[in-house]
């Protein structure tokens, strides 16, 4: 297997982008990544794009070809493939791109992630997101996505004494980071009172415990590591890649409070990279809800199971903490265009490892982790990146 590096990154602004279409967003992110990488169109061997539900959000399937077409590559007939794994679609597309170069089949690959969620109304967006849950045995009975994570949260509180205030501290921290990110949907700090007293969505989770509905796209260019320096001054090497699955329905899991798919994916990535969690300098984790970040830092092995709430309270995960988490603002503040999220996490880690994160730069960052989850934890993908 060959080593692979990220040599270019591109991101659109995240938010309610009423004047931008699905096609414009993915083309913009892709063009930025390609320009950033120094490659030309003729160098691209393949494209992978992650999208959860373009069919329901914009009524368009078959977007592998569409993305190649709209990006100007239709007459070059570049192989273009869409990858889907609910909110983990972007992370999975990245992993497929990585495989295709590591295998020796391709040298240069462009990976994209996109979701255009605001072309449908709020309740339609909620229903589409719920298709990531078990339609027949969860959603049929009236449970929503926030409802599933709310049940994880309540069980976590019951077993480990996690508090609503600790959940709120995740939101406050991520908004503080997001305020420093010019691409974030909400570049605004919030107070602990605002987070604690927001409108109830699914007890115990309020609106400020939930990531928003977002339009946005992200893209990266991957290259065989041995050729990376032909194009790029600061290639960032992929040193580990892991993926795991679990039961689609939350109720069938071994433990309601543990995402075993995360544990599996993380162990796979750590083993490949020959590192352990304490070697990691920063992480972008899947905080679709505040409780998800607490579970993530436990399941990734940063803290022991049950100690995630305390870790947040003790400010371990803040920008100047010992393990900065979600320096981009996370899904909560940066926004969560579901198919784009996994790729956008890679963009943030690469930006940090290059030392180009400006006011939110983590000092001397060398190894970063990304953690992207589909559904309530049925799919998880973890990547480890290193500055070389």
């Amino acid at each position: 297997m060959r080593d692979v590096a990220v040599i270019g990154v591109g991101l659109t602004k995240f938010g309610e982008l009423w004047d931008k279409s699905f096609r414009q967003l993915i083309s913009e992110a892709g063009a930025k990544a390609i320009l950033d990488s120094g490659i030309e169109g003729k160098d691209i061997d393949a494209m992978y794009v992650g999208s959860m539900s373009s069919g329901r959000f914009v009524g368009q399937e078959h977007i592998g070809a569409l993305v190649a077409d709209t990006s100007g590559f239709s007459f070059m007939h570049i192989p273009a493939t869409r990858v889907e794994g609910a909110c983990a679609s972007g992370g999975l597309a990245f992993r497929e791109g990585y495989f295709s170069i590591a295998s020796g089949m391709n040298d240069i690959v462009v990976v994209g992630g996109i979701e255009k969620m605001n072309d449908v109304g709020g309740s339609s967006a909620t229903e589409t997101l719920a298709t990531a849950a078990d339609q027949e045995w969860e959603a049929f009975f009236g449970v929503t996505f926030p409802g599933l994570y709310a049940m994880i949260a309540l069980r976590h509180m019951h077993e480990y004494g996690t508090t609503k205030e600790q959940l709120a501290q995740v939101a406050v921290k991520n908004h503080k980071n997001g305020a420093l990110n010019p691409y974030a949907q909400y570049q605004k700090e919030i107070t602990i009172e605002q987070a604690m007293n927001s409108t109830m969505v699914a007890y115990p989770l309020g609106l400020m415990d939930c990531s928003p509905v977002t339009d946005g796209a992200a893209s990266v260019v991957l290259c065989a590591a041995e050729k990376a320096r032909q194009y790029c001054q600061k290639p960032i090497k992929i040193i580990g890649s892991g993926q795991g699955s679990d039961t689609l329905a939350l109720h069938s899991r071994r433990d309601i409070c543990t995402l075993d798919a995360t544990v599996h994916a993380a162990n796979m990535a750590y083993k490949q990279a020959k590192i352990n969690p304490k070697d990691i300098d920063l992480a972008e984790v899947h905080d679709c809800f505040t409780i998800a970040e607490i579970c993530a830092i436990e399941d990734l092995g940063f803290v022991k199971k049950g100690e995630g709430g305390k870790a947040v309270e003790n400010k371990i995960t803040t920008l100047d903490g010992t393990m900065p988490v979600n320096t981009s603002g996370g899904l909560k503040s940066k926004g969560h265009p579901v198919g784009a999220t996994g790729v956008a996490q890679i963009v943030e880690i690469v930006t940090q490892l290059r030392g180009e994160a400006g006011r939110r730069q983590v000092k001397d960052a060398r190894i970063g982790l990304t953690h992207n989850v589909g559904g309530s934890g049925a799919t998880c993908v973890v990547h480890l990146l290193e500055a070389v």
Partner: protein, 137 residues
């Protein structure tokens, strides 16, 4: 949900009568029924037998839905829980016949046959199980 009635009809044994299945190899019970046992896999082939749950169990976690899906908007706020059935499987369902403030982890509940949702004014009405506090245990 707008789909063919057959999609619901296929699940009547489960939704009306809690018919799960049992692995003939390790005796574990599943609900909804599985095509094969995830613990025994090939040893369970052709050995998955129907098994009716008694309908009693314990709340292991719950939530109160304040912002509901379109078909449930008129019911908010309503409690939904994951229930560990006495036979082992865990099931998601609404808790009814109980003030939602009184729902708690550890509470004993039993299934009750109710209307779940409907396809608009003239469409099919879907029935199935919800849970209520146990009368006698």
């Amino acid at each position: 949900m707008d789909s063919n009635v057959a999609r619901f009809w296929r699940q009547i044994p489960q939704r009306y009568n809690l018919i799960g299945n049992q692995c003939g190899s390790c005796n574990k019970i599943f609900f909804p029924p599985r095509e094969s046992c995830p613990y025994c896999r090939r040893k369970s082939m052709e050995k998955m037998h129907p098994y009716q749950l008694k309908g009693k169990g314990e709340v292991i976690t719950y939530t109160i839905i304040h912002v509901g899906p379109k078909d449930f908007e008129e019911q908010v706020p309503y409690p939904i829980a994951i229930i560990r059935m006495d036979e082992g499987p865990q099931i998601t369902g609404q808790i009814v016949d109980c003030d939602y403030h009184k729902v708690e982890i550890g509470m004993r509940v039993e299934t009750t046959f109710r209307r779940i949702q409907e396809d608009g004014y003239t469409g099919a009405i879907y029935y199935g199980y919800k849970f209520k506090p146990c009368s006698v245990d």
